[in-house]
Structures are given as C-alpha cells and as structure tokens.
Symmetry: C2
Subunit: 350 residues, 2 copies
DNA sequence: CTGTTAGCGCGTTCAG
DNA sequence: CTGAACGCGCTAACAG
C-alpha cells in the first residue's frame, strides 16, 4: 500500500523515468503507432517499475464518456436478477462497456436515489427493472441518458423495453391445469400494480375463459411480496371449506412459499407458476413451471441500450419492445384432480 | 436525452443562470453555511431548471478519492456470492462508499484483469473472493489499495481476511453422521487446491479419527466443480459394490448434484454438506447442513476494509483474521443406516 | 517521431 | 458573503 490519498504515480512520473513527455506515455499506452520502438520499451519499463496504472477517472473526464452503464435491480439475491445482471454484463463486456450495479434491496423508494447516483457517476446509459409503478424518476433520468426497461413496460415513458411473455406463459400453464380437469385453481399473485402481476392474472383468466370455466374470486390472492406472505395465503386457501384443487403462482418466491404451505398442510396439489427453480425436478410434486431465460432479458436489454448509444447524435430511433419467450416445463406426476400423496416420485415427465 | 457526448450542464451553466460564479454553486451544493439564503434559492432554482447533476467523476479527480470500493466474485448466480455482495453493499452504504462489482464468471484467469480494471477506476479498496490458488495479482493490487479476502485465507500475502469455520463445520456435520452409526461416508469435494475444499476435508477426516472410524479412501472424490460433475461422481459411488451409507458434500452445488443423483438412483441416503439452500427443509431427505450467514462475511469484510481505510496515513495495523460461525441444521427423518424410502416426510427436526 | 498548449468539471486556497 | 486563480490526470489538436 504505497498510495497516499489521491496518490499513485502519474503519466508525468512515468515520463520522467522514461525520459519522455507525458504525452508520449499516453501514446504508448494507447498503442498509437507513431512511437519509436526504443521509446515504447523505455516507457513500458518505467510503467512496470512504478506499477503505473492509467487513471480511468481522469480519462473519462477528458474523453467525456465513462464507458459505464448502470443497472438497477431490486434484489440480487433473487436468481432472476442475478441472472439478468450476468446477461447484461456479458453483452456490455463484448462492447467494451463496464457495468455499475445498484440494488434497491426491495426498498422501492430508494430507486430514484440510486438512479441519480448512477447519473452523477456519468453512466452513459441505464438498464432498470422498475420496482414500483411510479416512473417519473426515469423520465428525469432520460433527460441525461438513454434508459432501457427490463421485465416491465414503460408507463408514461417513451423508451425501449424487454418483456417476458407474461400473458402467454400464464395462459399456457393455467391451460395445462384446466386440461387436467381442474376447475378450482387458486391464484397467488404479487401486487397487481406490478405489470407482471396484472399480466399473469390476465393470462390465468383468459385460459379459464377459453375453457369455459368460471374463475372463483374467493381463490384469488394478490399482493404477495415474498415466500412468507405466499405461504400464509396458501395455508388460508387450503383451509377453506371449498378449497382449490390446484395452485397458480406468479413467481418463484411465491411458488416456494406455496410449496412450503402444501408441505406443512401435509397435502399435495398440482402447482403451476412462473419461474423454474433449483431442484424443482426432484421435489416429486406435480409442477407446471413457466420457464424463461433471465440472462437473455439482460442480454437483450444491453443490446438495445448499446444500439441506442450508437445513434447518440442522430435522430433517436422509435422506441422498441423486445419479447423473451417462455416455455412450459412439467415435473413430477400428473393426472386428474385429487392426485396422490406427497412423495410418490417417478422420474420427471419433461 | 438532451445530453451530447460529454454534455450536460456544468456548474458554470448553473452559475450563469443563477447570476453567480461556479464557486458559489459549488458551495450551495456542498451545504456550505457561508451562503446567503437568497442566492441559495436562486442556485437551487437554476439546478432544477437545468436538471443539473454534479459530476462525480470530476469530483473524485479533484478530491483524490473515488468513494468506491471493488468487489470481485466468481459467480453472482450462486446465492453465496450474491448474499455476500449484499452484505458488502450494506456496510459500504452506511459509510458513504459505493461498490463496484466484478464477476469472473468462473474464469479464474480473468481475475487479475478484473482487479486491474477496478484499480484503474481508482477504487479505494478491494474485497476479493480469490478463485484460484495463485494470488500474485493480489500482491500487486496491494501496492495500490488495501485488499481484504473473503472466504479464503491469504496465500503468501499479508492482509485481512474473513473466514468461515470450515474445519469446525465439516467436523460437526460429519460427526452427526458418525454418531448415527455410519462408517462408510462418501466425501464429495471441490478441488483441494481451494482452501475451503482442503479445510472441509480436514474436518471430515478429524471427525472420523475422533470416532475411531477409518475413512475409506475409495469413497473420497475431490475436484468437483459444479452440480453436474458432482452428480456424476455421486452416481459412480452409489454404483459401487461396497457403496457409502451416507454422503458429505462440501458446498451447495455439490449437494444439489448429489441429491439429484440419489433421486435418479431411486435411493435415499443421509446427506451432510456445507450451505443451506432453498427448500432444503421440505425435500423430505435426511439432511445435515452446515449453515452460515454469507451476508455476514460480506459485512465483516467491508468493515475490515473501511477500518483499514481509516488508518491510511498511519502505520497500517497488523493483518486480522475474522471468523464467521457455522451452525448445523438437520432436516427430514434421521435414524440408523439403511434409512427409509425417498419421500417419507415428517416435519423438520430443527 | 515527439513536445506544448489547453481544458474536461470540480474544489481548495486565498483575496476581496 | 463571494469570486479568481490554479491544478487533479489525462488527451485532442496543433506545433516542431
């Protein structure tokens, strides 16, 4: 730890040691062809000797671009977000950008602050999975840099976004249950103010209509925010005199809460839901999961953003909406309502 | 998107609009007391009107400190690392630092490059979970900034680190199996070149010695890197004429691979291992898991680093080693060797 | 092939 | 209470 506060050798220091000006050092480090081999070597030697590292902060100030883009997510511990982040990272790296990550920790109200922070650090663009329904702060952000939304559509904003086939996936999974004869399917959903919540309910509902089955409103529980709330809601439903014969869950955490509820209640019901998760294939439960590639959402979002950064000076292209496909996967035993006991586990169906 | 390349209003622009110098703007934004209320208001009005945001890049250049620390991990998609990252984030935020995250994506050879990148961006410190056994690049990094290691001890380096009770946890969990009468316990481990791998094997071995049981070398498989390799190794072991009656796994991915192997082999064996994971409690398998708080590793590492940053000018304190405790948790049915069929599932024991 | 000048946006220092 | 000068480390543009 040689570094004094703000310390470390500068190009000047390197130049002095190599007997050249700072400018020449800059050229060497940039691989500028117009430098004699002799000086190149002297410069590199000096760089090595001093342990010199070019100061990217000063560099981006001078160049007027940080090479950095910001990603805002709510909860890195949720594999959906960490996967998405990895997808973003991957594409950014290919294009020579770096990622600056901000995590709201499920505190929706922190999002505007984090966005501002990223702008203060002069990210050149922003990818956001908006946590709440208010997006005014994103409109503000768009005054500074392009913004791409991931997994949620813009609300009162004109910008690119990457969406999952929420409606389609929910409809298809629900249809599987209906096809097996279920007519009392409970719906366990996140807050309907969230796009995904609303859209997945719509798919759930549409599947019912197409089967001529009337959804039972008493079996619909929305506003669930985590596994714990989902578990409680599911236990209540299972306790009903006229309970459900199957469950539909709008995301991985809700599915896991519901599964725990089934376990505690000592019963087994077919469960459909969004998001595949670890070990889902060996739980021995009849699962119908809507799977999709969270990495791909991140990759696509990054591509949209980078493309838009390319057109910075030109007329901005019309805003685009990309969709990532879903796929229904079925695990465990499947049959007609009133299935078997927890734990009978033939190998996976799909 | 008003921003030209490198664009956006500056303090000068704000100052002109507010009829003051840039200096005064700077003072207002810094909450410097020596500014009249009237000008304050004019400045804030101008800031609002222009959507001005202070340029943190220029700021850190001038101040000689970026307020940023770097975190290097191998795989964000592994909950261990994402949790650790959240813990780091939490403490940094409390102290007014920001985090810059780099992910090697399991490519050990990329780690030095990522570390350099962070130094180029003038992080003031580094928290690293070293992926390989070579740490020379970290010694280089220490010439520039303080480095704290997480989950692995320094090798040929003199610096702070935060460790898990690897030995103790492995010994305790293994002892549980031995106490139940198991004498043929398989060991499924990550590469022994990794500290955790070696240490956990040591604990496994110690427990055997203490019970007077001779470990069977043919049941020890090391060098497993993910769930897939673990699954294959476990299947091989299960296929042995004199197979194991229980399994010990050194991390969550290996446990999951082994569990999948048990499932495919249609058998049930007690399994002990490091890391708790989602739904472990309802698998209905006899599990003995060594649990610990990954967030806490991150928090402690961040505290060590921040403390060290406080002593920047003084004599650096001797390097410290902090340990995060483990706790053994047992799930599912437990009894004597030759247990029950997959799927008999009374409620959790602990 | 190499050096000089100038300035990116900001804050410290010192004068008013 | 406010402003001017200077420099953080780097590089584009222009000399030589």
């Amino acid at each position: 730890m040689t570094a004094r506060r703000g310390g470390g050798p500068t190009m000047h220091d390197v130049g002095r040691l190599a007997q050249v000006s700072a400018m020449t050092v800059s050229r060497v480090l940039k691989n500028d062809p117009g430098v004699s081999e002799a000086t190149r070597e002297r410069v590199f030697a000096a760089v090595d000797r001093l342990g010199y590292r070019r100061n990217e902060t000063a560099r981006s100030l001078r160049l007027g671009g940080s090479g950095m883009i910001g990603l805002v997510v709510t909860n890195l511990a949720n594999p959906f977000y960490s996967r998405l982040a990895l997808g973003v990272q991957e594409v950014l790296t290919e294009h020579g950008f770096r990622m600056m990550l901000s995590n709201t920790g499920e505190q929706t109200e922190r999002e505007p602050g984090l966005v501002d922070g990223l702008i203060d650090h002069r990210v050149e663009g922003l990818i956001v999975v908006p946590a709440g329904s208010r997006q005014q702060h994103l409109a503000d952000a768009m005054r500074h840099v392009p913004v791409v939304l991931a997994a949620r559509p813009p609300a009162g904003l004109d910008t690119d976004c990457v969406l999952v086939e929420d409606f389609h996936g929910a409809r298809e999974a629900t249809a599987c249950l209906l096809a097996e004869g279920h007519t009392r399917i409970a719906f366990l959903g996140n807050p309907p103010a969230l796009y995904t919540g609303a859209e997945r309910l719509r798919g759930f509902w549409a599947a019912h209509e197409e089967s001529g089955v009337e959804p039972d409103n008493t079996l619909i529980r929305q506003g669930l925010v985590d596994a714990a709330t989902a578990e409680r809601a599911a236990l209540e439903l299972l306790d009903l005199p006229e309970g459900p014969t199957a469950l539909f869950c709008t995301n991985n955490r809700i599915s896991q809460g519901a599964i725990r509820a089934l376990y505690k209640a000592g019963t087994t019901l077919p469960l459909a839901g969004f998001d595949d998760f670890d070990l889902s294939d060996i739980l021995g439960l009849p699962l119908t999961l809507v799977s999709y590639d969270a990495d791909e959402i991140g990759r696509q979002a990054a591509r949209l953003l980078i493309d838009r950064l390319g057109h910075r000076d030109a007329e901005p292209p019309a805003s685009r909406r990309v969709t990532v496909p879903t796929r229904v996967i079925r695990y465990g035993p499947h049959g007609h309502p009133g299935g078997r006991a927890f734990g009978s586990t033939p190998p996976p169906t799909a």
